[in-house]
């Protein structure tokens, strides 16, 4: 099986519902072997885009190419999809459940059961293998669901909000597992609100809003295109001393640390000098913007996105 350079590509993809347009001429290219972040506020069309790309929805226009095929269903056994809306059969035993989900992803019964056992071991649920799934905690079920999405070693792993509901220990475990997938050679499409995870995991991103791509590309390139336009500051001084510094467009201040984004044509050195006059500086760094800041700049103006800022600071 040849590996195309692009694991997933869609062009001018459109998905309409009765009176709304969920995906609006979306172009997206996910290079093979990378972790790709699909970002956007609630209701921006991420889930609809994913469903359309995976063939769960029939697109109204545009084209999709998944793992070299124009029909996602033809390559479905090479895709591992963890939907945002996910549940499990409450009455089924954990091991049977995982084996069933593995079997509909193309493994034969014996292999499905063997791998189900191995994965339960891997995510620390071996002791619960014979329990009804309904007895597991939400976080434990999340791990079973993640395992079910990657148990058949898919070439493309699509994870829609995989981190919701996980504690820090399991968040770290999941991060490791995602990185393992890439190491194995799989391509990962990650849809999330958690900007720190995007920063830590993703090589490329696409930010969508109202079903349209508003920003896409390699994360490092995107950041570089903004230049070092942000001053990262640790300081001691009175609160408010940093207010209204000329040349600063936007400012975030906790009282001990501050990040200030410069006006496009401001002189960074001049701004730093003026800061020195106002407070006692412990550390200062001229930085690229965080993805969170880029995100907020692109879509944060929307009144309808209170969850976005919440999630971004979580």
């Amino acid at each position: 099986m040849s590996t195309p350079a692009v694991a997933l590509r869609c062009q001018a993809l459109v998905k309409r519902f009765a009176d709304t347009i969920a995906v609006d001429h979306l172009d997206l290219t996910v290079p093979t072997g990378t972790i790709f972040g699909l970002l956007g506020p609630n209701g921006s069309g991420k889930t609809s885009a994913i469903r359309t790309m995976l063939g769960i929805y029939v697109p109204d226009a545009g084209s999709v190419e998944v793992l070299g095929s124009s029909d996602p269903m033809a390559v479905r056994h090479r895709i591992g999809y963890l939907p945002e809306e996910r549940g499990l059969y409450a009455k089924m035993k954990v091991i049977d459940q995982l084996a069933f989900l593995a079997s509909i992803r193309g493994l034969d019964q014996k292999e499905a059961t063997r791998r189900a056992g191995a994965w339960l071991e891997r995510v620390g649920l071996a002791d619960s293998a014979q329990s009804p799934t309904g007895e597991l905690s939400k976080g434990m079920q999340q791990k079973v669901q993640f395992a079910s999405a990657v148990i058949h070693d898919p070439d493309l792993v699509v994870l829609d909000e995989p981190f919701t509901g996980l504690d820090p220990v399991n968040t770290r475990l999941l991060k490791e597992l995602i990185l393992e997938q890439r190491k194995r050679g799989a391509t990962v499409l990650l849809s999330t609100h958690l900007m720190e995870q995007v920063e830590a995991l993703c090589e490329s991103i696409c930010l969508i809003d109202h079903g349209r791509a508003v920003l896409s590309g390699v994360l490092a390139d995107i950041k570089a295109s903004y230049g070092r336009n942000t001053i990262d500051l640790e300081y001691r001084g009175t609160a408010g001393a940093l207010a209204s510094v000329p040349g600063v467009r936007r400012c975030e201040d906790t009282g001990q640390e501050a990040r200030r984004e410069l006006e496009p044509d401001a002189d960074a050195q001049a701004v730093i000098r003026s800061l020195l006059d106002r407070v006692e500086i412990q550390a200062v760094r001229l930085d690229h913007p965080h993805i969170e800041e880029i995100y907020l700049e692109k879509v944060g103006h929307r009144e309808t996105a209170p969850d976005t800022t919440h999630a971004a600071t979580a």
């Binding site: 009765a18 469903r51 995976l54 769960i56 029939v58 269903m73 479905r76 056994h77 895709i79 591992g80 999809y81 963890l82 939907p83 809306e85 996910r86 549940g87 499990l88 059969y89 409450a90 009455k91 089924m92 069933f100 989900l101 079997s103 509909i104 992803r105 193309g106 669901q145 079910s148 999405a149 699509v158």
Partner: protein, 424 residues
């Protein structure tokens, strides 16, 4: 459509169904109730029948007391013990008082009072603690009637034995069909049609509801999308229905097995059972009927499962489901009532049309085959139309399925669904 995917879904559904508490309970309960109905109830009746009813006969001057006592003695269920025959002056309250007291004290169970009548010679009234037992009252009535009739006939010179034989004879029936003539069709046909119709009805309701509930639960637990990533909506629906079909057939096999066992091994050992059931085994279970029943059961089951699955896919909660399911069950209920009409009118145009409409074919055609076998071409036309109905319904519901399965919180409206059906 990928067959292995369908099989995997069907297998899981089948196991989930068969292991469910409702399934196990119903599989056991239905034969248990049937057994209770067929064996225990008659036994209960027969015990009341073995009790002897103590009855006094009071004659106000008809001179029929002895003749009536003889007739009463001929009744064997319940056996009647005539405690006394007394000539009384009239049937006033005062005259009857001592006998009513005896009834209250339970030294007798009741008494009959014979009164002269200008037109029909005599009338009788029965006074007793228990007057609500129709078979017993009917037996008493017959005894009184034949006693009076005997008296009437004595004067006319008609042979009494002849008249009595006439009264006891029933209208014999013989069903004529293309294959030949068969005696005594109707009762057997009525019984077996009703039994088979109920089997189909219950199997659909129990298993179909179970499946519909499972689909709504999969929707509300958001499990559906996990599955739809790997299985198409059509495969999912087909697998579900086949799994449910499998569980339904399993249940039916258990029921039929228990029924056969009961009829062949248990029934003959219970003399009352055989008498009460009163149906000749051979006349119910012809091979031909069983073949048609199997075909119609499977197809009918399939048809209604698709309907149930589709209805379930459009519901977002179990509350919504129970309302919507009623709509899906309605044709089945109508069909069940229609079988009564068909049993009485097996060859009218209405019957023939009904039996060719897919929602009604399973029950109505079965009733027709059982009562008055229609021409072979009509039977097979009905079966072909039912298959066609299944394909069309399946095709439409696959569209609805894909559209409605991922909808949460809101039910699709009818215009929306029609739109989905029209779109390719």
């Amino acid at each position: 459509m990928n067959v292995t995917q369908i099989i995997k879904i069907a297998r899981r559904e089948f196991l989930a169904r068969v292991r469910s508490r409702a399934f196990i309970l119903m599989t056991i309960m239905v034969p248990a109730f049937m057994a209770a109905y067929m064996f225990v109830l008659p036994l209960l009746f027969s015990t009341t029948g073995t009790e002897t009813l103590r009855v006094a006969v009071l004659d106000t001057g008809t001179d029929l007391a002895d003749a009536l006592a003889d007739r009463l003695a001929e009744i064997d269920r319940p056996r009647i013990d005539v405690t006394e025959r007394t000539l009384v002056p009239d049937d006033s309250d005062e005259t009857r008082a001592p006998y009513s007291d005896a009834v209250r004290r339970e030294t007798i169970d009741g008494y009959l009072v014979l009164v002269e009548d200008p037109v029909i010679v005599a009338r009788a009234r029965y006074y007793a603690r228990e007057t609500g037992n129709p078979p017993m009252l009917r037996a008493l009535e017959r005894a009184v009637e034949s006693t009076i009739l005997d008296r009437l006939l004595v004067d006319t010179g008609v042979d009494v034995a002849q008249v009595r034989a006439l009264l006891r004879s029933d209208l014999g029936t013989t069903t004529i069909s293309a294959e030949g003539e068969e005696e005594g069709g109707f009762e057997a046909a009525f019984f077996s049609t009703f039994a088979l119709a109920m089997l189909l009805y219950m199997a659909v309701i129990i298993n179909g509801q179970g499946m519909a509930l499972a689909i709504v639960e999969e929707k509300s637990s958001r499990l559906i999308e996990v599955i739809l990533g790997a299985v198409t909506a059509t495969e999912f629906m087909t697998g579900k229905i086949l799994g449910v079909l499998g569980s339904g057939l399993t249940q039916l096999a258990v029921w039929v097995g228990v029924a056969l066992f009961g009829l062949v091994f248990v029934l003959p050992t219970l003399s009352v059972g055989a008498e009460i059931a009163g149906v000749d085994l051979a006349s119910i279970l012809s091979i031909e009927l069983l073949v048609y029943f199997s075909i119609l059961f499977t197809l009918g089951y399939f048809f209604y499962s698709i309907l149930f699955a589709t209805v379930a896919a459009t519901c977002t909660s179990t509350e919504e489901l129970s309302q919507a399911l009623f709509a899906a069950m309605l044709p089945l209920i109508v069909a069940l009532f229609a079988t009564f009409y068909v049993l009485a009118n097996p060859s009218t145009l209405a019957t023939r049309v009904l039996s060719l409409l897919p929602p009604f074919t399973p029950l109505v055609m079965l009733a027709r085959i059982n009562v008055l076998p229609p021409p072979l071409w009509e039977v097979w036309l009905g079966i072909m139309l039912l298959v066609l109905g299944i394909l069309v319904t399946g095709w439409l519901s696959a569209k609805i399925f894909r559209y409605a399965l991922l909808m949460h919180g809101k039910r699709p409206t009818l215009p929306e669904l029609l739109g989905v059906m029209r779109a390719s």
